[in-house]
């Protein structure tokens, strides 16, 4: 005997469904607050954040959310609170490029000598290389853009002889 009959099913895709308050969704960078310290890149467990200095004064931050676990560590360590975990979860796409975020930041240089700011050769992240810390760089990074009709079997063959990546030599 049902006292209060009703419908429990959510009319979800046709009506929005709010998330709980503590939900961590897609992180967003505030490019006005970001100082380019790279703390988020150093702490990211899935290494989804890449930092590269394209020239003396411009630093590029590339975030690839395709393998992000939304742990919120980047927002925790950010000293300027430039990263906000938004409540976006409707991120389904056909291409992983839609999940990227790219920031171009101006970096300050030494007012006396004009450079002093370490270039990428002596970057802190590169110094960690001999200790086994590796990160993808923008130049050699293959953006995994495989639609079903663009799928190339050669890339598939590469996985057959997959080996553990060796340590980076300095």
């Amino acid at each position: 005997m049902v006292l209060k009959p009703g419908v429990v099913t959510l009319p979800y895709p046709f009506e929005p469904r709010p998330v709980p308050e503590t939900f961590r969704g897609q992180p967003h960078w505030d490019h006005n607050k970001c100082i380019g310290c790279g703390g988020c890149a150093a702490h990211c467990s899935a290494r989804t954040i890449f930092i590269r200095d394209v020239c003396q004064e411009v630093r590029v931050l590339l975030y690839d959310s395709s393998r992000c676990t939304y742990c919120g560590r980047c927002a925790d360590v950010c000293p300027e609170d430039a990263i906000v975990m938004s409540n976006e979860f409707e991120m389904a796409t056909e291409a992983t490029e839609d999940l990227t975020e790219r920031l171009e930041l101006f970096m300050l240089t030494c007012q006396r000598c004009g450079r002093c700011f370490d270039m990428e050769v002596s970057n802190q992240l590169d110094k960690l290389g001999p200790h086994g810390f590796r990160y993808d760089n923008l130049e050699h990074r293959i953006v995994t853009n495989r639609f079903a009709d663009q799928h190339d079997p050669d890339a598939l063959k590469e996985t057959e002889t997959y080996e553990r990546p060796s340590k980076v030599e300095d």
Binding site: H28, R67, C68, Y70, A92, E97, F147
Partner: protein, 176 residues
């Protein structure tokens, strides 16, 4: 293209084969959650089937580990055409934290061609429904790449050059 194809070919029902390729069961629980009366995807005619030979859609959860790689390929080949492949969860989309470890191929797209990606760790049941509704053409895509630039230089270049020249006056005096 796939939205069109999905709209035509998969108009009435989608039978889903759920393929766990080494996931932590977080995504699997959310996929099963989607089938409960609360979220109820059966109103779109979706149904879990036990064999890939009966399925139209394969949901791959988990970074494809090396032992499961041939099995995932075999399951993909066993599905009849036309077929859709969804990568569910951050492991399926890009490999998660294990994207470059020795025993993982790094995402479903490294093993089979993937049509739709549903990120999240694990994705909310609503996110999975959204992904499937996107394939059916019921909703519009919301994700897009974001590019931001600091257009204004933090220090006024003119002032800085002027300060630079003023500071170098002493060297000019010394040269004379």
């Amino acid at each position: 293209m796939f939205a069109k194809l999905a709209g035509k070919a998969f108009k009435h029902s989608l039978w889903i084969y759920h393929c766990n390729s080494g996931a932590c069961n977080g995504c699997d629980i959310e996929i099963l959650n989607v089938l409960t009366p609360f979220y109820d995807v059966e109103r779109f005619g979706m149904k879990l089937v036990g064999s890939p030979r009966h399925a139209d859609v394969m949901l791959i959860s988990g970074a494809v580990t090396r032992p499961t790689l041939p099995l995932v390929k075999k399951a993909y080949e066993a599905m009849p055409e036309p077929k859709l492949v969804f990568a569910v969860g951050s492991c399926g989309v890009g490999g998660g934290c294990w994207f470059d470890t020795y025993n993982v191929t790094g995402g479903a797209s490294k093993a089979v061609p993937v049509d739709y990606y549903i990120p999240g760790c694990p994705p909310r049941p609503e996110a999975i429904i959204y992904g499937v509704a996107l394939a059916l053409g019921l909703v519009e895509k919301q994700a897009s790449p974001i590019e931001m630039k600091q257009v204004e230089f933090p220090i006024d270049v003119y002032e800085r050059n002027k300060a630079w020249e003023e500071r170098n006056v002493i060297y000019k005096l010394l040269d004379d």
